[in-house]
Symmetry: C2
Amino acid sequence: MIPANDPGFRAALDGLELVDHPVQLRQRSRDFYWYSPILKRALDGKAADLIVVPASIDEVVRVAGTCARFEVPLVVRGGATGNYGQMVPLQGGVLLDMARLDRTLWIEGDRGRFEAGVRMGDADRLAQDKGWELRMFPSTRRQATVGGFVCGGAAGVGSIRYGQLRDAGSVAALKVVTCEPTPRLVELRGPDIGKALHAYGTTSIVVEVELALAPTYPWVEMVAAFDDFAVAAHFAQALGESDGIFLKLDSLMAWPLPSYFRGLEGALPDGRHVVMIMAAKGNVASVHDLVRERGGTVTLERAYPVEAGVTPLYEYTWNHTTLQALKIDKTVTYLQTIFPLGANIEALIASHERFGDEVMAHAEFQRRFGRTNCSSLQVVRYTSDERLWQIVRELETLGITLSNPHSYVLEDKGARVLAADLQLAFKREADPMGLLNPGKMSRWTAA
Amino acid sequence: MIPANDPGFRAALDGLELVDHPVQLRQRSRDFYWYSPILKRALDGKAADLIVVPASIDEVVRVAGTCARFEVPLVVRGGATGNYGQMVPLQGGVLLDMARLDRTLWIEGDRGRFEAGVRMGDADRLAQDKGWELRMFPSTRRQATVGGFVCGGAAGVGSIRYGQLRDAGSVAALKVVTCEPTPRLVELRGPDIGKALHAYGTTSIVVEVELALAPTYPWVEMVAAFDDFAVAAHFAQALGESDGIFLKLDSLMAWPLPSYFRGLEGALPDGRHVVMIMAAKGNVASVHDLVRERGGTVTLERAYPVEAGVTPLYEYTWNHTTLQALKIDKTVTYLQTIFPLGANIEALIASHERFGDEVMAHAEFQRRFGRTNCSSLQVVRYTSDERLWQIVRELETLGITLSNPHSYVLEDKGARVLAADLQLAFKREADPMGLLNPGKMSRWTAA
């Protein structure tokens, strides 16, 4: 590899938008990895040597080809809202900022095709103008890009009905650019989508994304509060299993998590566990019935989207839950875990009883393999790495497995073996020199 | 009770549309109970003494009050497409034909409100004009009425995504008329809907139905064929569990069932087991991928609605499957069974292996309690009642339980105890003399 400030390399990129101011390089090479004290130690100070901001796919091809010819590492940046350092360059090189690839190519029926740099929130609003909306979005939708979500995300607001991003039918197609002296444009469809989906940009450069859309509903945000955690957990599961109730969000937070939240005054009674809900307007009465039947209280009900200046409910959920806690208490961190199919509520209650406030229970209910399950982004009172791994081992005895948020390595995220094999094989074709986001795919590094 | 041809009774109904021609009485007192040789013996010859065709809710109130004052039995008729004699009058009296209560009251957002006599197909088309459609409909949608479906139905085409009619959120409200000397109009909402839902009109007279609607999708009909039954069954389950694929129909038919079907030439290869599918257009490619992955072949793909004169795919599914077989072979009958949660495919394969062609496997995949499950309307080569009950007992050893289609008794349909208690209590209030559809609710008869 040669440094990105090599004059020949710079000359080959002549005419492209380049950024090399040290402050810019440092600021734009970071994501939200600082949720994790472990990643903070590992990644602080890592930065690209040069940022390139392509304005077209042709320019992406030019950058990829130049990097391949000069053997310069290449890392792609979307909205940089990831939490695991997915886009942090470990070996310097070029950071390819996709911000200007922000054209919505078309929205027709239940499909939309976007350039990778389109913001999720913008994609959602454009689809809504045509009676559709994104099936799922991350809680960071204002900043996150479509390309970043498919490369670094897995699920989100909407997954309670539409499942995971990796489920067949969620992503209709990806157009990618290979990293070779003469880059190729490849359209991935069907099972081939797995070659680039959730690969952190290690196998190719995603430049266009075709997503399945959902019909728009008028949504209502609701909060239900419960005295007892087990009752709240069973309610959240029962709500998610209610096939007749159309939902977009079903998030459970154990007390004292709600004590960290600002902007929901009156909706979060002291000492009570809450479920945050987005339900189709026509099903709100059924949600009230279920809350009443389960002994809870509805403490908030308001139309979505919320008024300007009001924080939407989803910004307290998914990865935002930890962010809200970190705003108040810089010493907390989090875990990210997957629950056993068919026994998730028992495991959730057992973990709450075992750890109490040290591991504040937070569960995002979602469809997994056709079932209502949850995953968790528990907020943890951090004391030491040793204690954190001790908690992880104890959770494992309850059937709760880690999707490690304290690692930037792709395979530590619960990626399935089949997907990892597919991605490794594709990387051999599409990035034969291993220049794309080096250090993130451990199978490549090991091979 | 007095006979319906009592002059005083007739005089009290003066001005209403009355029908008392014997041929009319006999023809309009029947549903599709003749699928069952057992019900045929029990119900042939049963008929009302008088048909009243009200043109308004006021007229329904008048009929109900008159029947209560004269103690004349009163049975409500929708489209008469039921299969269990739900609307066959066991004790004569008045048959209240709801055909003229056919006004669509409103369709707004994801709700529609209909008079009980509106045909399901008409309700669906009217909703589609506004971008919505029925969440589920029976395969008899052309004739079936909205009131008949909520009183005698349980699920249907659409249940693979929207679950059961009894799930909270499916039915938003029912307006009912009580059977008392001075009838009351009662609006049922929330859990109270269970007082009249799937009660065969034994507890009150449903005159208006408010239904949750689903967003319209462009739908595509598909047939996938498989050499091996177990492979086909696992495919159908996997398809139903694919959260990213929007479905409306997922129906499995073992060979030789397809040999009875006319009008699908070319799509039903000899000796092969088929899955009939309605999928959102945007997800068709994902269905192809899954069929290919599972070793099947797509033998039909066409847009829905189909052209005039072509039988839609759903008319080979649900209760129509047996009808198609009966058109070719008058000696077959059927069972209706519920499969064990979480073990339905194992039970389905075991029953197919045990009975072979004697019990032709037919499974309708649907959401039940938040899971992808199936129920079955197996087509049976009937030899004797004794053999039929022997089959039922053997199915029970596989965990497959009967929802008895050879009985007109409400409680034999797998009605849950809680619903039955609620309905009995409501009948005491709303039909204190037990005039509504007498003989159908065994708890009332026994009390």
